[in-house]
C-alpha cells in the first residue's frame, strides 16, 4: 500500500463529503421551490381578478388616471430581480446577460408599446437600476449603472410586505414624473427545468404586457378568455363612490401584485435552478467516486502484485 492509494483514498473521502452537501442543498432547494411555486400560483388569482375589473372599467371610457398615462420616455426605472446567493447554476448570469443586452439597446427599452403606433424617444435615455437581490446589485455597481437602491434582505418566498417599499418607489417615481417607465427584469418560471429571463413593463400599465401575463393564467384557469368576452356585454356597472376613485385604488394594487408576482416567479426559478445545479453536482460526484474507486482498486492490486513479485523474487534469490 503505497502513497498513491492513500492519496486516492483521501480524494474519495473529500468528494463524498462534497456530495453529501450538494445532495442536502438539492433537497432544501426542492422544498423551497415547491413553496415558492405554490405561493406564485396563489397570487395569480388576485392579479387576474384585479385585471378583470380593470378590463370591465376600461369598457366604459378612457380616463385620465396618472398611472395609465403614457409619456415620452426619458428616464427608466429598472427593477432587477436576482438571488442573494450563488450556487444556482446560470440563474443569475442569464438574467444579468439579458439586462445588459437591453441596457445597450436604449431604443427598445424606451419604446412605449401601444397597439398600432410606437412612441419612440430621441436623445439620451437614462436608466436607474433598483437591485432586488445581492447578485444583481453587485453587477449594477460593477457595470457603473446608476444603482439607486438595493434590497438584499428578501426571504425565500417573498411576501407582499417584502415588495411594498419597491412598489412604492416605482409608483411614486412614476406619478411625480421622475420616471417615464418602470420595467421589471425577472426570471419567468416555466417548469422545474425551464426558466427564461424576461423584461416586463409595469408602468405605465399597458394592456399588451398585462394581457401576456393573463394569458399565462389561461392554462391554469380556462375561464379567463370567456370571462373577458362575457364582461363586454355589461356596461351597466355601478361604481361607488365614483369610477375614477375606484381606478385610483385598483391601479396601484395591480402594480403591486405584478411586482410581487415577478419576485415570486424569480424565487421559484432561483430555487429550481439551484436544485438542478446541485443535482448535476451530486451526479458528477457519484461518477467521480466510481472512477476513483476503480483507480484505488487498481493501485491496491498493483501494490499487492508487486509485493508478491518481490517476495517471490527474494525467495528465488535465496535458493
Amino acid at each position: 500500500m503505497g502513497v498513491n492509494t492513500k492519496a486516492i483514498k483521501r480524494r474519495i473521502k473529500s468528494v463524498s463529503s462534497t456530495k453529501k452537501i450538494t445532495k442536502a442543498m438539492e433537497l432544501v432547494a426542492a422544498s423551497k421551490m415547491r413553496k415558492a411555486v405554490d405561493t406564485a400560483l396563489k397570487t395569480r388569482t388576485y392579479a387576474k381578478l384585479a385585471w378583470d375589473i380593470l378590463v370591465d372599467l376600461s369598457k366604459t371610457q378612457k380616463s385620465e388616471i396618472p398611472l395609465l398615462k403614457m409619456r415620452r420616455v426619458k428616464k427608466v426605472l429598472l427593477i432587477l430581480i436576482t438571488s442573494n446567493r450563488g450556487l444556482c447554476g446560470s440563474f443569475n448570469s442569464n438574467i444579468i446577460k439579458k439586462t445588459a443586452i437591453q441596457m445597450q439597446n436604449p431604443q427598445n427599452l424606451s419604446r412605449q408599446r401601444v397597439a398600432g403606433k410606437d412612441l419612440v424617444t430621441e436623445g439620451k435615455l437614462e436608466v436607474d437600476v433598483l437591485g432586488l437581490g445581492r447578485k444583481g446589485a453587485d453587477f449594477a455597481k460593477k457595470m457603473g449603472y446608476n444603482l439607486i437602491a438595493s434590497f438584499t434582505d428578501m426571504s425565500d418566498t417573498p411576501g407582499l410586505a417584502d415588495v411594498l417599499p419597491i412598489c412604492k418607489m416605482a409608483i411614486d417615481g412614476y406619478t411625480n414624473k421622475t420616471y417615464d417607465k418602470v420595467v421589471v427584469a425577472y426570471t419567468d418560471f416555466k417548469s422545474a427545468i425551464a426558466q427564461t429571463p424576461k423584461l416586463r413593463q409595469v408602468l405605465p400599465i399597458s394592456e399588451h404586457d398585462l394581457e401576456k401575463m393573463v394569458e399565462k393564467f389561461a392554462d391554469h384557469d380556462l375561464k379567463t378568455g370567456k370571462a373577458i368576452i362575457e364582461s363586454e356585454k355589461i356596461n351597466d356597472y355601478l361604481f361607488e363612490p365614483s369610477r375614477d376613485q375606484v381606478l385610483e385604488i385598483i391601479l396601484p394594487r395591480l402594480v403591486e401584485s405584478q411586482i410581487l408576482q415577478s419576485a415570486l416567479e424569480s424565487a421559484a426559478s432561483e430555487h429550481s435552478s439551484r436544485m438542478m445545479a446541485m443535482r448535476s453536482a451530486s451526479d458528477a460526484a457519484v461518477e467521480m467516486i466510481d472512477e476513483l474507486n476503480l483507480n484505488f482498486n487498481k493501485a491496491r492490486q498493483a501494490a499487492i502484485t508487486q509485493e508478491i513479485a518481490e517476495i517471490a523474487g527474494g525467495a528465488a534469490a535465496l535458493n
Binding site: 405561493t39 396563489k42 397570487t43 388569482t45 388576485y46 392579479a47 381578478l49 384585479a50 378583470d52 375589473i53 370591465d56 372599467l57 411576501g159 407582499l160 412604492k168 411614486d172 362575457e230 364582461s231 355589461i234 351597466d236 356597472y237 355601478l238 361604481f239 361607488e240 363612490p241 376613485q245 375606484v246 385604488i249 385598483i250 394594487r253 403591486e256 401584485s257 410581487l260
Partner: protein, 144 residues
C-alpha cells in the same frame, strides 16, 4: 333561492371561497352595504372594517383591511382585500403592538411628505380595526 358565489382574495392567496352564501355585509367608503343575491353589477372600495356573510344560520365574521369589492353578474362576488382574517384568528396583542409602532412612527414623520403619512394612517386604521373586532368577538365565549 339563488346563492352568492363568494370569494375573498388577497395579493398573497385566496382566503375564503364558498358558493352558498346568502348575504354579505361589507364596510365601503360610502357606508356599510349589504348585498343579496341577484344584486346589480357593482364595484366599490372597502374601508378597514368588519365583513359579515351568512350561509343559512351560520354567520362568518372577517376583519378586512381595505381593498375593493366586485359584484359581477351571475351572483359572483369577489372581495379583493389587502388583508383579511377570520375574527377568531386575530392576534390582539400583536395588533396592539403594530398599532403603537405605527403611531410612534407617524409622530416622527409628521413633517415629511404626505404619501408616507397616508400609508401610516392606513396601517393605524387597519390595526385599530383588528383590535376592535378582536375584542368584540373574544368576549363572546366568555359571557356564555
Amino acid at each position: 333561492m339563488s346563492k352568492i358565489n363568494f370569494k375573498i382574495v388577497t395579493p398573497e392567496k385566496v382566503i375564503y371561497e364558498n358558493d352558498q352564501i346568502e348575504q354579505v355585509t361589507a364596510p365601503t367608503t360610502t357606508g356599510e352595504i349589504t348585498i343579496l343575491p341577484n344584486h346589480t353589477p357593482l364595484v366599490t372600495i372597502l374601508n378597514p372594517g368588519e365583513l359579515i356573510f351568512k350561509q343559512g344560520e351560520e354567520t362568518h365574521n372577517f376583519a378586512v383591511a381595505g381593498g375593493f369589492l366586485e359584484m359581477k353578474e351571475n351572483n359572483q362576488l369577489v372581495i379583493l382585500a389587502d388583508n383579511a382574517e377570520h375574527v377568531d384568528q386575530i392576534d390582539i396583542d400583536r395588533a396592539q403592538q403594530a398599532r403603537e409602532k405605527a403611531v410612534a412612527q407617524m409622530s416622527e414623520i409628521k413633517n415629511r411628505e404626505d404619501v408616507d403619512y397616508a400609508r401610516m394612517q392606513a396601517i393605524i386604521d387597519r390595526e385599530s380595526n383588528r383590535i376592535r373586532l378582536g375584542n368584540k368577538y373574544r368576549k363572546l365565549p366568555k359571557s356564555e
